[in-house]
Symmetry: C2
Subunit: 333 residues, 2 copies
């Protein structure tokens, strides 16, 4: 099994990526192709000892910046690590592509170069989010901000396969994110989706309101890419603002500082539960290939866990299973 | 100045509402009309001493349940406190209507009975949210889930007036909630709104990503009612889930319990900063009348503060100012 990793993607590339890759080959039975600027990758690799035959480098002289338009790897930087890496997935005997780089660029290049999965019209990004129960799978968090009802239905079907095969949830429930519980709530758009999902999606439990996203009421939560992106960003922002406020208040009182120190080990435990690095990456579903998008701030552990998730996808033949599910010819059990 | 209050609205009605009204008349120079089931209101009023000529009761035998369809006060329960109360606003010499009842029903009945404000096509609900700076005004949080670009532009113009006149922000900045900072981000819908707002809205600072909702970067944050509703509910849900998780973790360690006790006064201070009761209610903007929707869980303080906000609206002739702003004939300074 050979996995392509974008060495230049993310805020801490290539250091964090290379360190994560070395961790991965020590832990998993996998071979890695690092794509990016060769000399920079070599400098990082020299810091480690590892079985040399398990990592190869493919030189890609260009880098897509985190803020460049999504179209860049297709139009301008065809020698970027993103474009070269995804082409390797298509042409060589590689099974998956992992990148912590520019999300829009990975989505656009994957859709363009790999094409769509049979029966699927648009890509969607899923994200594992921590909940009071354990975790849920939120999809789409940003690939398709303006979908048709059919697209969300496909996301639901693919999410069911991913959650079951990769995350190990036995018979995943599917909820539609809406602004009320009743089927009649929301605008015309979500009402159409609700109807379609009732007809086509196994174990559809109806609408989920946003205050239940983190309670774990549904294993998969389906929404359009605009709303899903708002959900994860408002949550990130709120936790950061709350933490800032908390620090500001604690520092006003010596007693509170001592109190916070006494609570530290429990707070760290919560921090770990909510750590994106635990889940590694966000799978890009709907394209004709296994692609994993990692957080721009990925540390080595996040990269390693992203690689682990793609290994599970490959072991479970996730693409074939999704094609079957979307075509209605599914056999999940 | 006479303000109509829905005595039957909210989870703790009529107790909390009547108690809040009594607080309000002691604090503000205002007269209140309590609408609802007369005998129930009288039972509550008997618990207090207050200047009797400042509160009158108008009997309304029906109550709209919190989960009933929005259309109920218009079609079926025309003798409900919501329908009777809003009619009083239209027909009698009353200046405003406050309700902690069924939000959809208040929106529908207000739009139907009062009609729309000159130049405005659809209503929008605004909400004051606490931020790291002080507060921001988020609009729409649920009245109009399927708006046209023009509707969001009107919301922005009305928000500017409300924030300046009622909340006292000198020259409010307006941000558009989007999934990227650049003008080209998001679906076709938000791009159209962005263009329209650039042309028509004073002090428009462009797109705001959802992770900046609570940092206070923009005084007013504009979005459609679906997205706004998701923002407030996901935030509420996340804080509740985080608190549950925190309690669960703290209870695992005696040291952490002591630590939490030591931090208590600072935590309570934060709780107060984030308390919706401080801001009282969410103004329903765009209808031809001053209507304030309070949280279903409103306590007496929330009701009192909602009344205070309507008094400010009336003192500043907010409806006239909004008509001028929307028509382009504005003079805010």
């Amino acid at each position: 099994m050979k996995i392509v990793v974008d060495a230049m993607g993310g805020d801490h590339a290539p250091q964090a990526v290379v360190a994560g890759v070395v961790e991965a080959i020590k832990e998993f039975d996998v071979r890695i192709v690092l794509v990016g600027i060769q000399e920079k990758i070599e400098v990082e690799l020299k810091k480690f000892t590892y079985p040399g035959d398990r990592i190869e480098i493919v030189h890609a002289p260009e880098v897509v910046g985190m803020d460049e338009p999504a179209i860049v790897p297709i139009r301008k930087k065809r020698d970027s690590s993103i474009a070269v890496g995804i082409n390797l997935l298509k042409e060589a005997d590689c099974g998956a592509f992992v990148s912590a780089g520019n999300t829009g660029a990975v989505v656009a290049a994957s859709s363009f170069i790999l094409g769509m999965l049979q029966g699927v019209e648009r890509p969607a990004i899923g994200l594992v989010i921590p909940t009071l129960k354990k975790f849920s799978f939120l999809i789409d968090v940003g690939a398709n901000p303006d979908p048709k009802p059919e697209h969300l239905c496909h996301s639901a079907l693919m999410a069911r396969v991913y959650t079951q095969k990769v995350l190990g949830v036995e018979d995943p429930t599917i909820g539609l994110l809406n602004i009320g519980e009743e089927a009649t709530k929301g605008g015309g758009f979500v009402k159409d989706i609700h109807k379609l999902m009732e007809e086509r999606v196994t174990h559809f439990i109806g609408n989920i309101e946003a205050n239940e996203v983190f309670t774990g009421r549904a294993d998969c939560i389906i929404c359009d890419g605009f709303v899903g992106n708002v959900v994860i960003k408002v949550s990130e922002g709120l936790m950061e603002s709350a933490a800032t406020l908390l620090r500001r208040e604690i520092n006003k009182s010596p007693l509170a500082i001592v109190g916070a120190m006494a609570m530290k080990s429990r707070l760290n435990h919560i921090k770990k539960l909510a750590d994106y690095a635990e889940y590694g990456g966000a799978p890009l579903l709907g394209v004709n290939g296994v692609v994993m998008i990692s957080h721009g701030r990925s540390n080595p552990r996040a990269i390693k866990n992203a690689i682990r998730a793609t290994i599970r996808e490959l072991e479970h033949n996730i693409l074939t299973a999704m094609i079957k599910e979307v075509s209605g010819n599914h056999r999940l059990h």
